[in-house]
Amino acid sequence: MASTTRRVEVNRADHAKRNLWSGFLFGVGLVAFFDEVVFHQLLHWHHFYDKSTTDAGLVSDGLFHAFSWFATVGSLFMLADLRRRLAWWKERWIAGVFLGVGVFQLYDGIVQHKLLELHQIRYGVEILPYDLAWNISAFLLIIIGIVLLRRSGVAHAS
């Protein structure tokens, strides 16, 4: 049994990068799905199309839309691939998910909402508290991701 555990550790180390990427991509897909379900369909804060939308915003939105679907499906096939190679490194994968969610949320909050002015989080309200909550939570998610990533490395080394 000890040799099997050792083998799995070697497999994981060989696929460290792929574990992180698979989690990261899943995180990006997850946050996009969350955005569609919660902000578009349930709260109706976001809309299919905003009058203020610029061409650059439309392109960015379309690219992200396609990417998030691909990321969701692709990352799960990567996960299946890691599992059949006995190389799934759960801690590292979860760290990747946090980083994916956080990085995209920060991109959405800074680039899409503010720089490209694709849309705002909510309309008809004082937007600053929403922007702060959005970007600070994104920042916290990234921090959690980094901490988890470092801890997974430490656990592996010991």
């Binding site: 099997t4 299919f48 990417f67 499906v73 692709g74 190679r85 190389a87």
Partner: protein
Amino acid sequence: MSHMHHEHGFDWMLLLPLPFIGGLMLYVGLLLATKRPWPLHRTLFAVLGTLSAVSAVTGPIAELAHTNFVYHMLGHLLLGMLAPLLFVLAAPMTLCLRTMPVRWARRLSAVLRSGPSRLVTNPVVASLLNVGGLWVLYKTGLYHLMQTNMLIHLLVHLHLFLAGYVFTLSMISLDPVAHRTSYRFRAVVFLLAFAAHSILAKHLYASPPAGVPLEQARSGSQLMYYGGDLIELVIIAVLCLQWYRAARPRTSYN
């Protein structure tokens, strides 16, 4: 626009379903002739693909599509996306190659490997033909022309289907293709094509082709966006599944 139907005495639109029905008959004929087992689900895909294409070019959807943008979009999804996907999954060329007499099969295989086939089944070319064609259709006067000129109407439908077919083929063909590009390359090209489709759908929401009422443009573009998502999701899943099988580890990891 019923004048389109009656001014010539003969309704040319009745011809549109024939190639699909003929194709299905050929498929079934080959199926009866083949001596090797052929998976039932492939036949089912061929039948469903034919139904999807035929329902887009004739009957109530085709009729309403002349005047209503929402039905036009529904037809577009059925003929340009769903039917091609189902036909690709039916693997008709493989069935042909294994059933035909050797001499014919050699000839067909030479055609499949020829320069023109190589060109149109290149993912980049196929994507430009497919999504590029849609941008041309909706952003020039072509859409309006298609609703008034019968020949252009036929050609647009033909292009819509063929471009959808080579596009799907270039991404996830089960049939032999001239030169199979890498998974990574196909994934990137597919991503851009998918994005261009989504961008066009949202763009049409706000600036529809001339003559399309805003109400119809809104429902139609959302149908294009979310309906397209569903079909593209299946293509992504098949592409990933093919990668998953091809990337099967050769060595034991135990």
